[in-house]
Symmetry: C2
Subunit: 334 residues, 2 copies
DNA sequence: CTGTTAGCGCATTCAC
DNA sequence: GTGAATGCGCTAACAG
């Protein structure tokens, strides 16, 4: 448990070669291309290796081959429930592709994100940037050094997967209109967020189409607290329903409303976005389902293509969304 | 954007040396120990490096030094809100220590956890296992190959940080007793979980001490749904208050109760554990605060000590907990 | 202060 | 089918 250097003391390819009575090259082949060797030799090497507890040194292998099968996924905030399903989707695909996933969390700050990418760049074969807060120039700069795939960020020329909430948001406005609501609110998310801009536009278009009055209420951050604090303004606006930037904000709305004894959905309707809370709210939240796990999977597949093909293509992958009606929406109050 | 091999084509130390008109060793030192060189030389090298876009190759450096500053953190489930704060705590400390954090999520299965540890082992200098679902033998086996630090798993001989919920749970029972509750329930978590065993015991001791009737209700998994489904049994038991294994389960309880129009805390009191939901429930959840961010920080410090000192010690670090009273607990109904 | 000499552990040309 | 060289890019003695 106390070697000179970490990694030292572990059996090397040479020791295995000696025990097995073969050359180092043969040991190497036994692990990388067994079919090049006779079955006998392979067995002999494997036995020797096991007896020594030998396992190929990934670092040395990487230096020699130039590949190590590591990739990085950087998110603004691990604690935001939007990301875990996405992370899990990516993990699953990474396992299938034999890749190791490193995770970074930038705490929503561009500086930290920048630092993380730089730190990872030398150790991974590719990076997935989720909801990047970096400006386009910096993203491009990083992409020039290491293959990059974007999620929810639309930078032409780079492979990117976009969760197209426009359709789902449209359906949400339709749903509200059908229920008789004539005045609704959109509670915004981070201004720098591509998703927020997209959703905001979709709400506006839908409202115009139905001739519904729209009030836009800013929530500083996409957070529970921001949603909760915006409730007074929400009530003051005179609207009877709200669409929130995301589920977490919507949950804040729900709690803020409950605190004021305003029943949902009898007196007010609330719709979220992302579908990451499931039915864990009360009442269960009507929301736009985003399939974020699929986004993670797709991004990973894209990245492993880029790595395998050794070249970036200009791919823009749009994922569909749909409205999931649960219990937080109802007919407009008289 | 299309090299023969990834990593190839990037400027190497030799090219920088040539441009700067110095030896490769000098370039190396300019990056690792600038104070060993004259300011002039350092500047000259840095300039040359920048002009070439050179950045030290981590993999090569690692092969040479035997260290690469990578560590892994493996959790049962990224999507469980207990872990993100812990992950974030570890990340922060990792940055301070100049370490890179890899994340693994085992989906609660020992097999996947086993595989992850094995896959990471060759690429990291240490592993943090959070709430490991592995049996002691396997943990020990891994610890023999790579430095391991445990969180919420009490394996003698290995460095471990334990969130000692016993004290907080005790306070929770006291709180309930003071409010006049004479019959309470404990809703369990995963049987294999060290935390669950600890919490269960603490509830039992507290109940006995106050002469309170205790019913233990099993929730298969620690999940929202499990909590929600256990509500009928909860009501049938005749208890007036419940302590849940964790906040997520408690939230399930809250929703299940609300669905049956049983007001909290007027007719029933609920207490959670971990304090990861904050005030995002309605009513805001009374819970045992676990300081999980601190657990992540402490584990990381422990691990970096182990790495630096090149040897494991038998450290058992217990983190205190306390009861946070919010709105989900009240006087026992008549 | 700086250059020279040797590897780190492995995969890969070539020969045989 | 297998072995003998060579190098991946860098750091670590050891000189000077």
């Amino acid at each position: 448990m106390s070697d000179e250097k970490p990694g030292r003391g572990l059996p090397t390819i040479s020791q295995v070669a000696e025990v097995a009575g073969v050359s180092r090259a043969t040991v190497s082949r036994a692990f990388t291309r067994p079919q090049m060797l006779s079955a006998d030799t392979v067995a002999k090497v494997k036995t020797a290796a096991k007896s020594l507890g030998y396992v190929p040194n990934q670092v040395a292998r990487a230096l020699s081959t130039g590949r190590h099968g590591n990739i990085a996924l950087i998110v603004p905030d691990v604690a935001n429930p939007f990301f875990p399903p996405l992370i899990r989707g990516a993990q699953g695909r990474a396992d299938l592709a034999g890749l190791c996933l490193f995770l970074g969390s930038s705490d929503e700050t561009p500086e930290r994100e920048d630092m993380l990418v730089a730190k990872f760049a030398g150790q991974v074969e590719g990076v997935i940037l989720v909801s990047s807060r970096l400006d386009e120039d910096r993203i491009r700069a990083h992409a020039a050094r290491v293959p990059v795939v974007l999620i929810n960020r639309d930078v032409p020329g780079l492979p990117r997967v976009l969760i197209d909430t426009a359709s789902g948001i449209g359906a949400a406005v339709d749903h509200l209109a059908a229920l008789g609501h004539r005045h609704i609110c959109y509670v915004t998310g981070p201004a720098a967020s591509w998703s927020n801009q997209q959703r905001r536009r979709a709400v506006r278009n839908g409202a115009r189409h139905h001739g519904i009055t729209l009030t836009t209420l800013p929530a500083q951050r996409a957070s529970f607290e921001a949603g909760r604090e915006v409730v007074p303004a929400l009530i003051a606006s005179g609207a009877t329903a709200a669409i929130a930037f995301d589920d977490v904000t919507a949950q804040g709305l729900l709690v803020g409303l409950a605190e004021r004894k305003i029943n949902v959905p009898e007196r007010f309707s609330v719709i979220g976005c992302d579908d990451v809370l499931g039915a864990t709210t009360f009442p269960p939240l009507t929301t736009v389902s985003a399939h974020c796990d699929e986004a993670g999977e797709t991004a990973l597949d894209l990245l492993s293509d880029v790595i395998r093909l050794r070249g970036t293509r200009d791919i823009r992958y749009a994922l569909d969304t749909e409205l999931v009606v649960r219990g937080s929406t109802g007919p407009a109050p008289k």
